[in-house]
Symmetry: C2
Subunit: 309 residues, 2 copies
């Protein structure tokens, strides 16, 4: 199906959101190989790293080095998370990345626990980053987390999400990625969320960033697609989340999303077999731990059976 023009964008966040949660740091060379392989598989949007302080996320301490060596391909956009102006300096320095990503939480408590400030303060901190990116002609992707529920507050007011999305777009964000950080969302809730946000932001500028904590990520991807969303964040092989670790909460796996769409004749432009090859390499040669994607496991099983037949 890789020849058809893609109907959906599967946005790879594994190198950033996945690897930042891996217990062991991955070498810069392996990260670059991962990015190359994902690009060769047909992925057109990849979040490659984060310019957060290495004090907070040592796994991504090589952000500058990685950005300096980032490949360049026509039609492929690499993004990086930019938490503050210092981060933006480092982002701009490389001159090789295409999209700057900001983040904020829809929940006050989650914002305070994670970012040590209120939602209003975080909006204030993001403003100069967004202004500079805009001046530099760099598109901004803004993550809004805990849109379906907060680990500290429980329910999150849908109106708070909508208001935040509206303000971020006004502030210059090209795309809003709505994150179900703790994976509690349901198809009904996703439909309601997309309809409400769609009233203030055109849906071609809205992405869904779904976690699979309760196994509902694909049901929510499907609901989001049917509600009109066309961009879905995912992480190769479910990188960063291990369903067997107590309470772990990982991104939906790229393979699972691609397979869900391709099986319904919705082209993604991505070669699933190339993703399976990449996950096999990642599992065996880089991380040396079992990765959770169900589609990956089923394909690996089929390959092993074919090889032994």
């Amino acid at each position: 199906m890789t020849n058809s023009s893609p109907d959906v964008v599967v946005y790879e966040v594994g190198p950033r959101d996945g690897l930042q949660n891996e217990p062991e740091s991955v070498s810069t060379a392996d990260k670059l190989e991962l990015i190359d392989r994902l690009t060769s598989a047909g992925m057109r949007r990849i979040e490659v790293t984060s310019f957060v302080s290495p004090k907070w996320i040592p796994q991504l301490a090589d952000a500058g080095e990685l950005a300096a060596a980032a490949p360049q391909h026509d039609g492929v956009a690499y993004s990086a998370l930019v938490p503050n102006e210092r981060g933006y300096d480092r982002f701009a320095e490389s001159g090789r990345l295409h999209v700057a990503a900001t983040f904020i939480s829809a929940s006050e408590s989650h914002n305070r626990k994670n970012l040590n400030c209120s939602v209003a303060e975080q909006l204030g901190r993001m403003a100069p980053v967004m202004d500079r990116a805009r001046a530099d002609g760099i598109p901004i992707r803004s993550y809004v987390s805990t849109v379906c529920g907060c680990p500290y507050e429980g329910d999150v007011d849908l109106r708070a999400v909508v208001e935040l999305a509206r303000r971020l777009v006004e502030g210059g964000a090209e795309e809003i990625s709505l994150g179900d950080t703790i994976g509690v969302g349901t198809p009904s809730q996703v439909r309601e969320l997309v309809a409400a946000v769609g009233d203030v932001v055109p849906l071609d500028r809205v992405a869904l960033h779904l976690h699979d904590t309760y196994g509902r990520a694909l049901a929510n991807v499907q609901a989001g697609y049917e509600a009109g969303v066309r961009t879905f964040d995912s992480s190769l092989c479910g990188l960063g989340g291990c369903p067997y670790a107590p309470g772990a909460s990982g991104n939906v796996a790229t393979e699972d999303v691609v397979s869900l769409f391709e099986s319904q004749a919705i082209p993604t432009g991505i070669d699933l077999e190339a993703l399976i090859d990449t996950s096999t390499w990642l599992e065996n040669d880089v991380l040396q731990r079992t990765l959770p994607s169900r589609v990956y496991r089923a394909h690996r099983g089929r390959r092993e059976k074919a090889a032994s037949a």
Copy 2:
């Protein structure tokens, strides 16, 4: 939500479809405890065993013993698989089970590989079992497998599924359980399937039996529910399927289905915390292996965190 009148039936098949695939046999006493615990958690329909020859499924060789000791509760129906007349003799002997289940595949090749006969021959073998059950006032549940795809043939003709469902209902089946045996179904396909079968069988007599091989079972449950199905087969904790074993293909987990519905205010009548207790017991004390349900793992993680806080 256990006080609301259930809007859906979650049909537990773990003691039969789950345990028949476990590498080690479970003791009759543990099986009876499992059935008791599931019943206490609010499950009203449970498939407890199979009267297949112990030569084929040694894990269920104690079917007669188990049936003789089966509990009796008002409003709770226990079923058992009955492959042939000899099986029906054993089923009838105990006099303590309520529903006889038959099975057939929508695919010729799968039927031959699994049952060693054609679809037409299997219909012929089922007829005397169904006639005797009807004469005894025993309701029949008929499984139709490979409805979304066959491991040998690939695509399965939707018309073959519909025709089989029609004939089974004509032959006296009270309920048809449509099985996506290899987990390849998608939400679009499930919608199409339910609409087509719904033309010949009222949907309150149709169940969906979905496997989670490609992580799509919950998306398919949701699609089935939205298309009008109200009965969903599942297996406690995903019993019988291990997503980490190469190519394994297990039932959707009961916890995951219950949580999907309850989170959308669709009452199941089932106490999720009691299911988590039961899975904890099963995992730690009976099977001593890690079970796959994502909801179970997330709840266990939360409990462990709370206990250590």
